[in-house]
């Protein structure tokens, strides 16, 4: 019984009228946690009741604290009949369970009803007393911090990045249980909300346990998703990157500590928390364990004790690091000895490969009934041989793997992070992805989610083998997703294969290795572009040149990645959002036939998506893509593909060649003319784009480069697979046969359409830029105005004679029009950039396409652009971002402001960091109560991990909320648009209220993970499910920091809050 939860219900306001006769309400409140319920008195006849209740105390164990939400129900008392529910508030108390986050939750929460929406507000105070004497938790993982942010959070320093953690839990979906036929929609929705809340808590706790096992104390890049599998159940799954983090709050910790890291470590418990919380027992465990990390090999061996495979894992001998806990060890001995630049195969390109002649890949669906109680249909494109499948061999093997050791699953060198400290990323290969089509079946035993686990294990194995085949030992920017339609499910995973620098991470902890590292590899700005594989033994034909920056190493001509642009990368000009959009009709089919059809289509789609991306990239005159995300969505009668990425011109890579158009019937004069006309248009567009995005690479003479300037050509290659065939990497040649030049052949109307569609993408209006990454390359002078938004569009296709072309056009128009609308709506913010533009596509019904976009618009100051360029010499070679870099990097770099923007050796960075605690000292006001204002304080929301012009001083915990809204009076609520508009506004409001109650003033790394909308206009009904998450934080304006640096932190924060109200 290690915890006491205390809840006080203070008051309510703006309650709805529940008694028509008096126009008033007799409200009371039920407070429920686990199986215990308390009630307040009934406050008669008021819409603004003042309950001022006693403290309701729940004595619970910490496992429940993690799993259960606090449930507050507001009811209207009725003497003669059942009490009417007004609405509920669910409060996740997890942020109270670790010491550095919130200490109290206190504020006004919207009272939410799944049928009526928000109905007034309630003021609640929640506290937790954790008993400190229990320092070993078996089942709970209190104290492990969670971050949605996909980089090391601002006010922390990574001591160790342990690696990949994942978990999933399954359950039956209450909506599909028999009881649902007799209960009200409200009861059903609430059962679902509560179940998902419970499952999220459980999932988080389990992930936390894994982190503790790995000796970590935090999960960064935590991504949790729901799969609504309908009849077959509900899956909640999460992935993340386990880390050991240090809070960068205490200057003392950095001072002389540079030479003796262990000393620094020991000091942390004291320095870290000036007002220690009694309930901080959780973190203490990981902190203690940090001592292990001083000697990585030791910790490996500890961990490996439970797994035979671990024996092979020690860095020096293992061909590949398999354990995530091993963060990034070099995959081979030669690598570790410093010749980092030389080897490794990498993946370049995102490729989709696929030439139709490889159709053998797309083999017939394998159907198998597996002995262990489940009938499982597998559609696997890569599993051609089939014999193994018939016997259920792979499944057994997987099962064995799974049961043998839970560790096995974690042994993926994957990182959900997308931004890293300089030097961490040695080489980047390219995108690796894997997809698998599965048929869903009922989950018979929720306690044994093997099937889903096995599915994901397969996919991850494939990703790993792709990376391996390309010689990269790690995958960064890793993510997983699903698309479900009826009983078919596409599982997707993708990431960027990379070579990482293990020593870099050990720096702070391994004594004596500092100098060594110095000599070894000074990371250069262009280093990550250099090919990691052996030039003479390339896994595929690629066109290489010497790096345009250092002239020493080879680079590919195009680079695709899923990560953010490294902050030290040299970029020419600005970047832009690039999207590939694609639809493919598919016959309606059942079960296996359907899965087969989908499997057959997938390679074609990937190929086309890739080709489109490549064309559009060239059309922009750019040579690299960052933040690439390819989403394949399955519907009843079609598949949609949407790829988004941010194109940039990397100075290290060669100038991209143009696009040549070739006709197939050269004898036709008018046709020739047409072709040349198109060619001219394309050339003009390229020229215009170069001007628009300010791409003026310096002229480089051939002699310097030492190799011929690359001719315009493209060879790309796809490492892609859709099956569980992990031994056999399916490599597809993307090089368009034998052709050297990048030629678009116009041999039929389809191709013509393609060229046309290339040219129809309209650039944003002047003053607007857009990207889907954290920062916009080439813009570094953000001002503080930000506007996060969500926009949703659903179009109905006319079902007559739908062709692929018509579909493509519809889809393309939908996306383009949506973007145009955004530009128009936000025109008052010009000059401005849409950052982190995130499109998701779903196909809710036969003829409906839904596109949901979330992004943030940030204003910037055009005039200051030149001033802030720190190295005027390199005006054209701006760094990706100067102002915000410290926000995106490891906190190691917090003081990089004081450095010139030259690439600096890590050792130097370290020194500076340790020597300049003064600079950081100002904003450690962790104990300062943030806006404890009685009026509504402004809460900013942003999908980015930072807030322009502000410092994040404290992370309060993750926000992870799931809501269902349903209506049976759709018309009365303004139709589907009115209904969804109101609902999304309500979701924002509830997120803000929770953040404010935690004492925060912003949510960073905000994401709307799901927005499932269903309507039935004939019945006047609609339902929507929304899942959002993010990190609640306290931020302080930089301007305030300067002004009040000598004052008390408290005033410091307050002033920032008041200012914030005006600016948002």
């Amino acid at each position: 019984m290690p915890g006491k939860l205390k809840v006080k219900i203070v008051a309510g306001r703006h309650l709805p009228v529940m008694d028509r006769a008096s126009d008033l309400t007799d409200a009371f409140v039920e407070v429920k946690f686990g199986n215990t319920t308390f009630k307040t008195d009934v406050y008669l006849k008021s819409l603004n009741p003042q309950w001022n209740s006693e403290w309701f105390k729940f004595e619970v164990d910490d496992e429940d604290l993690q799993d259960e939400p606090l449930q507050i129900t507001v009811l209207d008392h009725d003497t003669y009949s059942a009490n009417d529910a007004i609405g509920k508030v669910y409060i996740d108390i997890d942020p109270l369970l670790y010491s550095e986050a919130a200490t109290v939750i206190s504020g006004w929460f919207p009272i939410y009803d799944t049928i009526h929406g928000i109905r007034g507000e309630i003021n609640v105070v929640v506290k937790v007393d954790l008993f400190n004497d229990l320092n070993r938790f078996r089942q709970s993982s209190c104290g492990v911090k969670f971050f949605c942010t996909t980089s090391i959070p601002k006010c922390y320093r990574a001591v160790i990045i342990h690696g990949f953690v994942e978990e999933l839990v399954v359950n039956e979906d209450p909506e599909y249980q028999w009881i649902d036929r007799i209960r009200t929609p409200r009861a059903s929705n609430e059962a679902r909300q509560r179940l998902i809340s419970l499952m999220s808590g459980e999932l988080q706790r389990k992930i936390g346990l894994k982190v503790l096992e790995m000796r970590g104390n935090a999960v960064v890049g935590y991504l949790q998703c729901f799969d609504l599998e309908g009849e077959s159940g509900l899956v909640v799954r999460a992935i993340g990157t386990a880390c050991t983090l240090d809070k960068l709050s205490s200057p003392a910790a950095f001072l002389p500590a540079c030479n003796s890291p262990s000393k620094e470590m020991k000091e942390i418990p004291f320095n870290e928390d000036p007002n220690p919380n009694t309930h901080s027992s959780g973190p203490s465990t990981p902190l203690k364990n940090q001592t292990y990390s001083f000697s990585p090999s030791k910790s490996y061996s500890r961990q490996s004790s439970s797994s035979d495979t671990d024996l092979s894992l020690t860095p020096k001998t293992a061909p590949y690091p398999q354990g995530p806990r091993i963060y990034l060890c070099p995959s081979s001995p030669s690598l570790s000895c410093g010749s980092l630049h030389l080897k490794k195969s990498c993946l370049l390109l995102s490729e989709s490969s696929l030439t139709p002649h490889h159709s053998s890949l797309v083999s017939p669906v394998l159907r198998k009934s597996v002995s262990f109680s489940e009938e499982l249909f597998l559609a696997a494109s890569g599993m051609g041989s089939g014999s193994a499948g018939k016997e259920g061999g792979p499944f057994k093997a997987l099962l064995r793997q799974q049961t043998q050791s839970a560790l096995e699953q974690r042994e993926f060198p994957f990182f959900t992070l997308t931004a890293f400290p300089p030097g961490f990323l040695v080489h980047v290969g390219g995108v690796v992805s894997a997809r698998s089509v599965k048929l869903l079946d009922r989950i018979h035993n929720p306690d044994e989610p093997e099937t889903r686990d096995a599915w994901w294990a397969e996919i991850r194995q494939e990703i790993k083998s792709h990376a391996k085949a390309l010689g990269c030992h790690a995958v960064v920017g890793y993510s997983e997703s699903t698309s479900i339609c009826e009983e078919v499910c596409i599982l997707s995973a993708s990431g960027t294969a990379a070579v990482l620098n293990p020593r870099f991470l050990q720096d702070g902890t391994v004594e004596g290795c500092l100098e060594q590292r110095l000599e070894e590899n000074l990371p250069t700005r262009c280093g990550f572009c250099h090919i990691p594989y052996d030039e003479l033994n390339m896994p595929f034909p690629a066109h290489l040149t010497y790096c345009y920056n250092c002239r020493k190493q080879k680079v590919p001509d195009v680079l695709f990645t899923t990560i953010d642009l490294p902050t030290d990368a040299t970029v020419i000009g600005k970047g832009c959002l690039i999207q590939a959009r694609l639809c493919r009709l598919k016959k309606k089919a059942q079960a296996e036939a359907n899965a087969t059809a989908i499997s057959n289509l997938l390679p074609f789609m990937e190929y086309e998506v890739h080709t489109q991306l490549m064309n559009k990239l060239k059309l922009k005159g750019m040579n690299a893509l960052f933040g690439l995300r390819i989403q394949i969505t399955v519907g009843e009668n079609m598949l949609m593909g949407l790829a988004s990425a941010t194109g940039v011109y990397l100075a290290a890579l060669p100038t991209p060649g143009g696009i040549q158009i070739a006709g197939k019937t050269p004898n036709d004069g008018s046709y020739e003319q047409h072709i040349s006309h198109m060619q001219k248009k394309i050339n003009d567009t390229i020229a215009k784009n170069k001007e628009l995005y300010e791409i003026n690479p310096p002229e480089i003479s051939e002699e310097i480069i030492g190799s011929p300037i690359p001719e315009p050509r493209q060879r790309s290659r796809l490492l892609r697979s859709q099956s569980e065939s992990s031994d056999e990497v399916t490599e597809l040649d993307l090089s368009h046969g034998k052709k050297d030049a990048f030629v678009l052949e116009i041999d039929d109307t389809d191709a013509m359409e393609d060229v046309h569609s290339l040219l129809t993408d309209v650039p944003p209006p002047s003053g607007f830029y857009s990207c889907n990454t954290e920062i916009m390359p080439g813009i570094n002078n953000w001002t503080s105005e930000i506007q996060m938004f969500t926009s949703v569009r659903v179009i109905r296709l006319s079902s007559l004679n739908l062709t692929n072309q018509a579909l493509n056009k519809n889809f393309n128009d939908l996306c383009e029009n949506l973007l145009k609308s955004l530009y128009f709506k936000l025109r008052s913010m010009i000059p401005c950039c849409l950052c982190h533009v995130n499109f998701t596509v779903s196909l809710p019904e036969d003829e409906l396409i839904q596109v949901t976009v979330t992004a943030v618009a940030i204003t910037f100051d055009k005039n200051q652009a030149l001033q802030t360029t720190k190295t005027p010499v390199e005006k054209s070679l701006q760094r990706a971002s100067t102002d915000n870099e410290e926000l995106l990097q490891f906190p190691l770099e917090l003081c990089s402001d004081s450095l010139p923007s030259h690439p600096f050796p890590p050792a130097k960075a370290m020194t500076v960091e340790k020597a300049s605690p003064v600079g950081d000292g100002n904003f450690r006001n962790r104990s300062a109560p943030p806006c404890a204002n009685s009026t509504v304080g402004v809460v900013k929301m942003t999908p980015l991990s930072f807030i322009p012009g502000a410092k994040i001083t404290k992370y309060l915990g993750i926000i992870n909320m799931f809501f269902i809204r349903e209506t049976t009076s759709l018309r009365e609520e303004g139709g589907v648009s009115g209904f969804l508009h109101a609902f999304i506004a309500e979701v924002f409001a509830m997120v803000r209220a929770h953040v404010a109650a935690l004492g925060g003033n912003a949510v960073v790394s905000y994401i709307m993970k799901q927005c499932v909308f269903m309507e039935n206009p004939n019945k006047n009904q609609a339902q929507c499910l929304i899942n959002v998450s993010g990190d609640a934080v306290v931020f302080v304006r930089e301007s305030d920091l300067e002004v009040v640096s000598s004052q008390q932190p408290t005033t410091n924060c307050q002033s920032s809050c008041t200012e914030g109200e005006v600016t948002t």
Binding site: F789, V792, R793, I795, R796, N817, G974, S977
Partner: protein
């Protein structure tokens, strides 16, 4: 391809002032889009008509959702659903409660009842203000009236507190409430030349200086007692001789004018007669003077002297009452005296 659903939701609620104006003015989405197109916005921004349509719909939907809150402005400040900066909140409220001069002249002094609401069709036709806008304005009047009707304390303060209006607008609403409460007749043809501002000015003076129940009948002696009336006249004439361009006209009309002014006071004690206050003031004072072409300065001279001379009437004992009455009346008359 048709858009089934099309929404934009910002963490900070986007308010487009131009669209808000169109919405307040009661234009349909289609009309609003047409008006925006005419404003040249497409050329300025390079947007398409479809974009404009979508944008307009979106703003209209937002305003529609905000309207419920605007009915009780303090709710707008405390609600959590829409994050709106305080300056924007103030703008939303102020504009929502703003009204058209033409409209307010039509309903000023009328009972804010369902009956009047039925006449809104006619008012809309007559004024060219859309029916929707007329309804909003009428409902605003009625809502404010209902809330402050029974309240104690300063009318303006009460309105400001409950509707968060600017000082200027709160004063206007106070006038509207005052007129509606007293049901002053303002619609007669001879009152058409008066603006809302004229009435609001008078209302403010009256609210500040007059209280109900004062025994204004006592003043009647000024005209009922012939000696007193003559004495009053001679005092005024003596004082103004040579100073007034229209002296002879004044002298000739003195008794009529004085009777008019004093009788107005007497009528104020009867609720039913109160309604005719402005009609009386115009008929009994403004019109006679105007027909004799009194310049405004002469009116001012006259009223000052007329009011002050009473102090020299020994037989009159209600000096304080008179001053309060005439102080306000003089202010009103001077404001009402124009073409």
């Amino acid at each position: 391809m048709t858009s089934e659903l099309d929404i934009f939701v910002g963490n900070t609620t986007l308010i487009d002032e131009d669209v808000y104006r169109l919405w307040l003015d009661g234009y349909s989405v289609t009309d609003a889009v047409a008006l925006r197109v005419r404003s040249g916005i497409l050329e300025q921004t390079g947007a398409t008509a479809a974009v404009l349509q979508s944008d307009t719909m979106d703003h209209y939907r937002t305003f529609h959702m905000l309207e419920r809150l605007l009915h009780a402005p303090p709710k707008l400040l405390h609600q959590l659903i829409f994050q709106i900066p305080p300056s924007r909140q103030a703008l939303l409220i102020e504009r929502y409660y703003a009204f058209d001069e033409a409209f307010v002249r039509e309903v000023l002094g009328k009972k804010l009842s369902k009956g009047t609401k039925k006449d809104l069709d006619d008012i809309s036709t007559k004024t060219g203000i859309t029916l929707k806008s007329c309804r909003r304005q009428f409902d605003n009047f009625k809502r404010v009236f209902k809330v402050v009707e029974e309240m104690r304390g300063s009318l303006v303060d009460n309105i400001q507190q409950h509707f968060l209006l600017s000082d200027r607008l709160a004063r206007d609403y106070a006038a509207i409430v005052f007129f509606a409460n007293n049901r002053f007749e303002t619609g007669k043809k001879k009152l058409q030349y008066l603006s809302f501002g004229d009435f609001a000015f008078c209302a403010e003076l009256m609210i500040q200086n007059w209280t109900l129940g004062a025994d204004l009948k006592e003043l009647k002696v000024l005209v009922a007692d012939k000696d007193l009336l003559d004495l009053h006249k001679s005092l005024v004439c003596t004082a103004l001789r040579g100073k007034l361009g229209v002296f002879s006209e004044m002298e000739a009309n003195f008794k009529n004018l004085s009777r008019g002014l004093v009788n107005v006071a007497a009528k104020l004690t009867h609720n039913k007669d109160v309604r005719d206050l402005f009609v009386d003031l115009v008929e009994k004072f403004v019109e006679p003077c105007r027909s004799d072409h009194w310049p405004l300065s002469d009116v001012r001279f006259f009223l000052n002297q007329y009011s002050a001379s009473v102090h020299s009437l020994d037989g009159f004992r209600h000096q304080a009452l008179w001053d309060r009455y005439m102080g306000t009346l003089r202010g009103c008359l001077l404001r009402l005296y124009h073409d």
